[in-house]
């Protein structure tokens, strides 16, 4: 039977980020999928190696606009692992508050986008309006709606003022009734049930085989969460539940994210109310030679950073592994067998973040010139000649 190939991307007005999907379809059914990423390479790791440990935090923060806390969180933990040191208690709490605020706004952002993909534009606008409240909270706490610049190796940059806490708590509380209505609207809607239940199923076995992370794995019944498995920050000091569901279809992924917002609100409020007194920064001066690893539970799953120091004030090597890198291959099992119209929401259900993932780009150099060592030397010599000509030196 003849099969057709539908290419989507790499630059497509409907996509937020450049990625390239090749869907092989038989009639309406997807029989194969191929994903190509690497259109968004920015050389972040190399950039980070050229900045000092303190300055790198800001580069790392800009890996992703949504995970602008998870990456610095993992990075600072990796740097603290080199020394090794424990950050002060108050700094831990502040870090946890910021990280949970980020999780709330990220999940809400995804929920809105999912609504948009399904044609529920009211949901989209409604959720994003709700998200504004959380962004306001983040502005009060950190001074910015996004890219909070709160993290530094050894602590946090800014303290949370005690006079801001009542207003923040009030704002967080104010989103709960709307969120309740939103949850009911999603759970009661028969169309959403018909549309999302039973599609894009990622079974428990597949989730383990592919090493899926975050809400993607938790929706499939794999109870995997860095915050519980290897507690960091203040996560072991507050009461909260890990949301795990069984079937692993798109509907469950929605449920996991909506319920996680409640847990995040709970963690955030507990931390704000029980903020311990004390120092917020260790003022680390020197980083000794060594290696360190750090991980943090980003809204999409575990973010992992590896930093090697050679005793100077700059990282000698910095490696970033974003959660989408692990979640992306699950497309192979979730999309195949579904219809093209369901493919979008299945692809969106893992909450892919390509700018987090793209560390390296490999290009097919067929038909293009490849530079060898000799060519580079020749280029270098030509440049010298050029400069000489410009300066008028023969």
């Amino acid at each position: 039977m003849p099969k057709s190939v539908i290419p989507i991307g790499p630059y497509h007005p409907l996509q937020e980020e450049p990625e390239f999907f090749t869907l092989t379809v038989d009639g309406e059914t997807v029989v194969d999928i191929d994903v190509q990423v690497g259109y968004n390479h920015r050389g972040i790791e190399k950039l980070s190696e050229r900045r000092t440990f303190d300055q790198s935090t800001f580069v790392i923060e800009r890996i992703c606009g949504i995970c602008s806390t998870s990456h610095p969180f993992a990075y600072t933990r990796a740097v603290e692992d080199i020394i090794p040191v424990e950050v002060p208690e108050r700094a831990k709490y502040i870090r946890t508050i910021i990280a949970e605020g980020e999780r709330i706004h990220s999940h809400l952002l995804w929920l809105g986008l999912a609504g948009h993909f399904l044609g529920y534009n009211t949901l989209y606008m409604w959720v994003w309006k709700l998200r504004e409240e959380i962004l306001d909270v983040m502005e009060i706490l950190s001074g910015n709606r996004n890219n909070y610049a709160m993290f530094k190796p050894g602590g946090v940059r800014r303290d949370i003022k005690s006079e801001d806490i009542p207003l923040v708590i009030k704002k967080i509380d104010s989103i709960v009734p709307t969120l309740d209505r939103l949850k009911k609207a999603i759970l009661d809607d028969p169309v959403l049930h018909a549309r999302l239940k039973g599609i894009g199923i990622l079974t428990r076995e597949d989730a383990i085989d592919y090493g899926a992370l975050g809400p993607t794995s938790r929706a499939s019944g794999v109870a995997k969460d860095v915050r519980k498995d290897a507690p960091y920050g203040a996560y072991d000091k507050v009461e909260w539940d890990m949301i795990v569901t069984e079937t692993g279809d798109v509907f469950e992924k929605v449920i996991v994210r909506v319920l996680e917002v409640y847990e995040s609100i709970k963690i955030m409020k507990t931390c704000l109310l029980n903020l311990p007194e004390g120092e917020i920064d260790l003022n680390i001066k020197d980083i000794p030679p060594g290696e360190g690893i750090g991980s943090a539970e980003a809204p999409r799953g575990e973010t992992f950073h590896y930093v090697r120091s050679d005793g100077t004030n700059r990282p000698a090597r910095h490696k970033v592994r974003a959660p989408t890198f692990m979640n992306l291959p699950t497309f192979k099992v979730t999309v195949i067998g579904e219809t093209i119209s369901d493919a979008t929401i299945i692809l969106a259900a893992i909450d892919p973040c390509y700018c987090c993932t793209e560390r390296m780009a490999v290009r097919n150099t067929k038909g293009k010139k490849i530079y060898h060592g000799q060519d580079l030397i020749r280029l270098s010599q030509e440049k010298t000649e050029h400069i000489k000509r410009k300066m008028g030196i023969k």
Partner: protein, 202 residues
């Protein structure tokens, strides 16, 4: 099926009464929360021109230019507002009690010409009296001598610049020392020239 629709209908009616959530921005100014970290702005009275902010800036948004060829040597501290990422590192590193450069509440930064995207302040420079090399900003030398107190009297550059800025320098004493053949001792010198006058046998 009906219940959810009624619930959402209530939400819709509420939205009708409350009105749009979005603000009428260009017509109504948006005032951010006081905690908001906007554009960093130099305070010419507090800034000492030490370049600590330039050193720590992760996006290289702060630069300086030393103008030494005319009668008034001065240092231009330049903040490029287009490359600034509002991280607040400059404020945190500022030696003048974090007040030389401070993040304001200003967030409306649009401009038509990219050349406009910079803010500049001028600081008076102190040049070496022998070689003309830049030593530091006058305010910086003042800051150092205030910081180290009486220890400043161990460095002629420091206390001469201090006394000159206060206008209480006694030219008679200076000429007396100058006449005794060690005139370089009573000048404001850069570190290299000071080393040469003090340590060399010349």
């Amino acid at each position: 099926m009906k219940l959810p629709k009624i619930r959402e209908l209530l939400e819709a009616i509420k939205a009708l009464i409350v009105g749009p959530y979005t603000s009428k921005f260009p017509y109504k100014p948006h005032i951010p929360h006081p905690n908001f970290r906007g554009q960093p702005i130099y305070n010419p009275d507090k800034c000492v021109g030490c370049l600590a902010c330039e050193e720590v800036c992760p996006s290289e948004a702060i630069g300086h230019e030393d103008i030494t060829d005319d009668s008034e040597p001065r240092r231009l501290m330049i903040h490029y507002t287009d490359t600034c990422i509002f991280c607040g590192s400059c404020e945190a590193a500022c030696i003048a009690d974090n007040e030389g450069i401070k993040q304001s509440n200003d967030w409306e930064l649009s401009f038509f010409d990219r050349k406009e995207a910079q803010e500049t302040i001028e600081k008076e420079l102190q040049l070496c009296e022998i070689c003309g090399e830049v030593i530091a900003c006058k305010d910086h030398l003042k800051w150092i001598s205030e910081k180290i107190g009486e220890l400043a009297y161990s460095s002629p550059s420091l206390y001469f610049s201090r006394l000159k800025s206060l206008g209480i320098i006694d030219e008679n004493i200076i000429s007396a020392v100058r006449d005794s053949g060690r005139s370089d001792r009573v000048k404001i010198l850069c570190a290299r020239c000071r080393r040469e006058t003090t340590l060399t046998t010349r």
